[in-house]
Symmetry: C2
């Protein structure tokens, strides 16, 4: 069973690396950006091309959502599976006469960062049972957490990740603006951030909530609002209100 990855970004890089580590028969990385492809080839030893797409049983398209529809038309072969890796697009975005599938890995990828692939959850979709079992078998070689997921469900997986990852990182960025403006080393917040994250491995996040909002400490929340303006104040008020709503304060 031959596999080709199309794309040369962070997802392509890490999928290729994980496949090779697990002995999956990845025969080619195909893409447009020769430098990025070369980097993946160096890491994995898998040949790359910007011109001729090899003949494979499974093509995995790991490109930006916006490019997916167009890239999916590069595959003219019919007797094969083509899978995209997006959490926010339906299987039907793939434009071709091949059999369609989705292999959505839930992780934030950076090339520079080593990842423990077995921890990454994979959400899968296919158009028939045989294809599903094929991509499931593949995903199980990499990950301990593999689950069937419709487009409907995948949308909520992605949405929850936006809250728990993208928005969380933005709060870190805003916190750093506060510390920078007041000559406080941001690194002093890191043990607290680490502890906040570690806690929810043991305790439900709802039970782990601390701080002035959940104590309904009006004196402090008022005082802190007075220290803020612009987007900071909007975030503060929104989060404060949402905490009060959750705990019925």
């Amino acid at each position: 069973m031959k596999v080709v990855i199309i794309g040369s970004g962070n997802v392509a890089y890490h999928l290729a690396n994980a496949f090779v580590l697990k002995g999956i028969n990845l025969i080619q990385i195909f893409g447009r950006n020769e430098n990025d492809l070369q980097e993946i080839a160096l890491k994995t030893g898998v040949p790359f091309s910007t011109k001729i797409l090899d003949n494979a049983d499974l093509y995995i398209i790991a490109v930006n959502d916006g490019a997916l529809e167009e890239v999916s038309q590069l595959i003219t072969k019919k007797n094969c599976i083509v899978a995209h890796t997006s959490g926010s697009l339906p299987i039907e975005i793939l434009q071709g006469e091949y059999r369609k599938a989705v292999i959505y890995p839930l992780q934030t990828f950076s090339k520079s960062k080593e990842l423990e692939y077995h921890k990454i959850p994979f959400f899968l979709e296919a158009q028939n049972t045989e294809d599903y079992l094929f991509i499931e078998n593949l995903a199980l070689k990499i990950s301990d957490h593999v689950e069937a997921s419709s487009y409907e469900k995948r949308k909520y997986v992605h949405l929850s990740a936006v809250f728990a990852c993208n928005f969380v990182n933005h709060l870190f960025a805003r916190a750093k603006e506060i510390t920078d403006a007041h000559d406080i080393p941001f690194k002093y917040l890191l043990p607290l951030i680490e502890e906040t994250t570690h806690k929810i491995f043991q305790v439900e996040p709802k039970e782990a909530q601390t701080g002035p909002s959940v104590r309904n400490d009006v004196r402090i929340t008022k005082m802190q609002e007075d220290l803020l303006n612009g987007e900071f104040l909007k975030i503060y008020k929104t989060m404060n209100e949402s905490i009060k709503e959750m705990y019925e304060l």
Copy 2:
């Protein structure tokens, strides 16, 4: 130099434990809740009382902000230092003829959770240099990060912690509501959350931002807004706008 801790909550518990581990002469834990005091005594071997406050050189009051002013009046001795542990109250909240100080540890404390005390930053304030050096010497026995901090600065330390810790935990809680409602195991988000946090130990959070908002992906942000309502939608819109403002999108 004799030290007494007043209070029996999470902060008192961990300060007492850290002091004893570092050989600081903690002679008494004083408080109202006998069960909690007993728990600290069991952990640390330090005697406790609910009635008679021992004679000491330093009293550290680790009680809720709301109780601080009243508790500070229990100390009638004059020739001693009395320190509170609050990030959000001025040194003057302490009502007595003693010398006043603040020892503010920046951490989220739970009794059940072991902490690496040397990583906890301490922000200190005193009314004269001699007292400052005394409490600094004490804090340095516990922590690698000890810094002088006025009330003004301490307020911003606390505020940044509200963003990076309290609000972050609330986003975890809201994300869990999304996964619960759609039959997605919340544990699938944990590797992503861990990675999000680990990243900012190496990369500035502003540089580490990913997701549809920072890509200005209007299709996805619109689609995700349509999946949400109530507090979820308010949070989504507020964070999305704040991200756009930060990256000038």
